[in-house]
Symmetry: C2
Subunit: 556 residues, 2 copies
């Protein structure tokens, strides 16, 4: 029996071998493993196929619904994965893929991940995680301190205190936001023995609103807030209509005047305000709400102030730019993702709570697990069983350090500013949103269109916009399909265009390996795509709308 075939047999002996005998170094999987440990970037570059296959085509390789009866060889599965899955995955680590919120990973994250997976701890309770529990509590404490800068005494007292928690780790920003708003909702209607009220946790939202005579409950956030907040409003039983979307101003920041007006209106209508959410780095434009002003208003009306800093939180590492987040230290809770700008692999979100007792309104226990009075982290998490991924952030914070993260954050913001300058200098592009952090949006706009727009009637502007929107989509899809580089796209409603729906390219500059040359190449490729057949129809329509002589021929 060769090394390759020793598992592929439906017998107890073969099953036993699966758990006890490692892959041979010379086996397919053994070789991949070794290659990956020596050269991640080379591995990804070599094995991910650049040119995109049609999705319908890809599906054919994943269409069998039967679980195979007999075991197959590990090497056969490894070959299949390399050919059909890895080859057709997205090169998220590529420095020219600047449309995602994922980036290349620091090298040390891979061997550390293997340790984490081999240990297979479960952070729901100490019995299945031991030292991982104080380690995770420490990481939460460190991030708490990054945001709230409390004293040594504060952390000495609270970091490991049973019955309390400075935050919770979770799989990502969505669960973090839901957890924060769950805490806010339950805190708003917490038990009150004096009033004979056993609390929303026991009685539910219906019981709570009836008890206090409210007509409903609401959460307020800017129209640029993350889509997970709508999901939170749905899941928490508040309803999407009660996630009150406040207009953003020309800089994509919440309009404080409208926010105040809506708050007053809700109070008149006897709607309980559960939380106000500030955004620190909108997913689409990277802008930060006026957190200090929001904190003032939240304090005035006595409501929970949550800041969604999933993206922008790590800006706090930067001496130069942390001031953009001024006011975050007044938030009752903050969402921050380690798998974004802290360069940890996917699956590492956090919500941090200013006051260590805030979590009491969601506290839960069970007899065989997370017992009362324990330090078990599961008592305050939406998830149950969870892996020990905090270990990777612990390592990032140590190996990269505050000063290292500062460099990474600042290079991203400065690169975004440089890219904005490049776009401004190109006559064929329009910068739609300036980068406040490291995200910007822009679109392709030939000079003759720009000229026409400056004198066009509103109806003409509408018509041109409609074609530009289609053109932007075409260019973005084509660029993606060519596989050399990637920007994402979204739809904004810029003040400058009287809030017309405007499809834009969206660029996220977090990968330290992205160079200025790469950015120049991205623009050059987009100009090239605009000149090919793929865009011919749109370009002709634009020429017609702009009374410009139509081009006779397009490059292919």
């Amino acid at each position: 029996m060769t090394k390759e075939t020793r598992y592929a047999e439906a017998s107890m002996e073969a099953m036993y071998r699966i758990f006890t005998v490692p892959e041979a170094p010379g086996s397919t999987l053994g070789k991949i493993d070794q290659k990956l440990s020596q050269n991640i970037a080379g591995f990804l570059q070599e094995h991910i196929v650049a040119v995109e296959k049609d999705l319908e085509e890809l599906q054919k390789d994943f269409s069998d619904s039967e679980i195979p009866e007999k075991p197959i060889f590990v090497s056969d599965q490894a070959d299949f994965l390399m050919d059909k899955l890895v080859a057709q995955s997205v090169h998220t680590a590529s420095p020219s893929f600047i449309g995602h919120m994922t980036s290349a990973l620091p090298y040390f994250m891979l061997p550390l991940s293997r340790i984490m997976i081999a240990l297979n701890q479960n952070l729901v309770k100490i019995e299945t995680s031991k030292a991982f529990t104080p380690m995770e509590r420490q990481v939460l404490g460190m991030i708490h301190r990054l945001i709230y800068q409390q004293s040594d005494e504060f952390y000495a007292k609270w970091m490991h205190e049973p019955g309390h928690s400075l935050g919770s780790f979770c799989s990502g920003g969505t669960i973090a936001n839901i957890t924060a708003l769950w805490v806010a909702r339950n805190g708003r209607f917490d038990k009150d023995p004096k009033q004979g009220f056993t609390g929303i946790q026991r009685l539910g939202l219906y019981g709570a609103l009836k008890h206090f005579g409210y007509n409903g409950a609401a959460i307020l956030v800017s129209e640029r807030g993350h889509y997970s907040l709508g999901k939170a409003a749905d899941v928490l039983g508040i309803g999407r209509d009660s996630l009150i979307s406040i207009k953003a101003d020309a800089n994509n920041k919440i309009d404080m005047r409208e926010l105040k007006t809506r708050v007053e209106q809700l109070r008149r209508e006897k709607i309980a305000i559960i939380a106000m959410v500030g955004v620190a780095g909108t997913s689409e434009t990277g802008n930060v709400d006026p957190l200090d002003q929001m904190a003032d208003l939240a304090a005035e009306i006595g409501c929970h102030f949550h800041v969604d800093a999933a993206w922008g939180g790590p800006t706090l590492f930067s001496g130069k730019y942390a001031h953009i987040l001024k006011g975050i230290e007044r938030a009752d809770s903050v969402t921050i993702d380690a798998h974004k700008q802290m360069y940890v692999p996917m699956g590492a979100g956090m919500v941090i709570f200013k006051r260590p007792s805030l979590v009491s309104s969601i506290e839960h226990h069970a007899d065989y697990i997370i017992r009362k009075g324990s330090r078990d982290l599961g008592a305050y998490t939406l998830e149950g069983s969870r892996p020990g991924i905090a270990m990777l952030l612990h390592s990032g914070l140590k190996i990269i350090g505050r000063a290292g993260y500062e460099i990474l954050i600042e290079q991203g913001i400065e690169k975004a500013k440089a890219f904005a300058d490049m776009i401004r200098q190109e006559p064929e592009f329009e910068l739609v949103t300036e980068p406040e952090l490291n995200i910007l949006t822009y679109r392709y706009m030939p000079a003759f269109v720009r000229a026409k727009l400056s004198t066009a009637t509103p109806v003409e502007v509408d018509q041109i916009h409609e074609v530009l929107n289609r053109l932007t989509k075409r260019i973005q899809k084509n660029q993606r399909a060519r596989g050399k580089s990637f920007v994402s796209r979204t739809t904004l409603t810029p003040e400058a265009w009287d809030r017309r729906r405007t499809v834009v390219f969206r660029v996220v500059l977090a990968n330290p390996l992205t160079s200025h040359d790469i950015l120049r190449d991205v623009l050059a490729e987009q100009k090239h795509i605009a000149s090919t057949n793929a865009c011919e129809q749109c370009m002709q329509e634009l020429h017609a709308l702009c009374d410009d002589r139509p081009l006779r021929a397009h490059a292919v």
Copy 2:
């Protein structure tokens, strides 16, 4: 500059190296990595310290709340992790640790995990996951087929159909249960244009109940249901008091008579029944509810029937024991964890939906992501960004195969039956719950106590029980601290003891490496602990209560 120190510097160049230069093979982390790839079991055995340190002691190593200013050497962090974290973690893979729901992992899971982490895909949308999306949809289809056994045509039509989903992957069973009950709640009050009702997703629970004139909403489950269901009732705004806990019978299965009585009562009170939850493998005793009878009742009253098969679901792989889950194929939704009995690392839960359109009531979209009409999986998940862990289950299903999983499942159930026989043959133990799957509970009960209990008055039984409960806790804690083996503990209310609170040892037999010899050693160690100083006080009390001559001396 040596290999070890090249990152530990706060400069852009050093930050760049972190992302581009691998660990040297001879470095601390490089050596650990290599060791782990050759011998996981040996690594864990060698590096995890057996004897437990006091938690207060452990905390000292994780007490600094400051993020270090300067980067430290990777090798220093690796040394720290090995000494302070790995050494003090829980040996979940050990064959003599039979109290956890985690087990040893098949070897191939580790190199495959490295590929998964290096690719760092985000399954929220196709743009960040490409082939991973059809791959995950296929895995969900395979598990759907395992449960529901629909035709080839069914899967050909629905597996990859936009706007539909056969299930969703998530970080674990808790999120799976919450997702299922979210679907059930929203489906119960879905939009109905004819009635002028825009649906609970928009209007919230309060609006929905008011519209239909209900006084509340409820979910029913046996008292043995998982604690995540209480959390779900809280989060979803229903309230924990409205998670109606139905008595379990002597076999820890839901009492159908009481269930029917409560259903009728709720209907009289105009409480909307959102879902009935069947448990297929309770966490504490491994018993399975009468799913077929529950399905009948759910059909009769027209409510969502959810089965929490997080633990027991993979029993469906077994030709011999699948019948225990009879009726699961009638459930509207099923929770099943791949990180439990499918031997995937932590972080792989699933909820499967019988009808592919069931998810429409929770569907959500956003402009820059998960666009309408796409196949993006993010439209139906509670989480947002998620890793591609489905790849590991895909590999498990292929490399282990149906027949391999059958062997693993059956060896666990048969080992549990064998262990139950061993316990019955020991005069000093009481088997509290028989294993239906691979979980059982028992406790230490010296022969003189057993003799006394057969003739004791109820008050005497109470007194003896109270001491036995303390004794069981002592033995369990001591065994854990000694670090040789581990059983967990929980509190049951057995019919045989007139539903007195009874602390028991809980044993989970999923690790294929656990031998009969190990099981005999676990019992021997418990008997030994009972004879040591640690248990002296309890034993003396028992002797006094049982009129037995007190022992003169105890071994240490």
